[in-house]
Subunit: 161 residues, 2 copies
DNA sequence: CGCTTTTAGTTGTAGCGTCAAGTAACCCGC
DNA sequence: GCGGGTTACTTGACGCTACAACTAAAAGCG
């Protein structure tokens, strides 16, 4: 217990709380979206990112970085969303290796219909318990952690959700 | 975009960063543990909780709340860990519905061998980028969020990891 | 130009988690 | 003391993700 670099009690306590949030939050978000829209949070987020792109279209690679996911995962997810009619795929004319994913009219409707309920869930589970200072602190701290988790910071250029 | 209760830009920014951390952190922790010990973070955490319990033994239900998991999930995980010789299961004498899970000698060794590397990973990915004030802020904010995610707060009575 | 390397994406498989259903034991009231 | 409800757990099936292998096209490079 006295390794060179153990954690202080304060660090440990904060760490465990962070881990708890990391484990519980995805389930909370997923179950609201599943119940109300039959979407996973990742599916919703993917649709949301597309909905904000110019022409509601993005290359697979761009979309995978916007959603912090691997290309393989994205490919599976887009395949599912395509089956349900929310997105379409088309080969990119400029680079024939590339694929453009774009939101269909139905997909756009889905996002519009789903967003308010999701925002409410985000408020209920996180935002509404935080005051202005908390939000600033959260932003600062998550920024620092992200600089380690994703040093290249090629994350989520996008803005909204 | 002007729904009754949309998010402010500051809230949105902090929220997206939190979501990014929530998505990236599990992968980071899992890959270190997988590489160095062939354990998932959840498996490690389960072993760690057992290692700190009196007699290194806990009832399944107690362990499931200590790890914030469903009983079904825990049951599967304990089954795997049992096959690998890290834990044992025995019916509880006082309540014959209940099962006691306990760490074997091999499981204890595994925890002892794995902990330092894991702590280092925790430091590298999170703790070492935060100063004392950050840690206090993180603890406070995660506490507030947890009060919503798990209102009954029957979470993680345990302390260390 | 040809040849290798890199980039873009897809697909199959295996593993983990969730959900629903099932079993068994305890507990409470009458 | 026995029937209904609850608690404690297990099991099986299904869905999603990671990983690895594969195809195809573009980019270097000599």
């Amino acid at each position: 217990m006295d390794d060179p670099r153990w954690l202080t009690p304060e660090q440990l306590h904060a760490w465990i709380r962070l881990v708890s949030v990391v484990e519980l939050l995805p389930g909370t978000l997923d179950s609201q979206l599943q119940r109300d829209a039959e979407l996973t949070h990742f599916e919703y987020f993917t649709l949301a990112m597309l909905s904000e792109a110019p022409d509601r279209t993005l290359r697979m690679t761009a979309l995978s970085t916007a959603t912090n996911s691997s290309l393989a995962r994205l490919s599976h997810v887009i395949a599912r969303l395509e089956k349900r009619g929310f997105v379409g795929r088309a080969p990119c004319p400029e680079d024939r290796r590339a694929t453009n994913a774009s939101l269909t009219a139905l997909g756009w409707q889905k996002v519009v219909a789903t967003a308010p309920g999701h925002v409410q869930a985000v408020r209920d589970s996180v935002i509404d318990v935080l005051d202005v200072a908390d939000v600033a602190d959260l932003d600062r701290i998550m920024g620092r952690i992200l600089s380690r988790l994703d040093p290249t910071n090629r994350l989520r250029g996008g803005v909204s959700e």
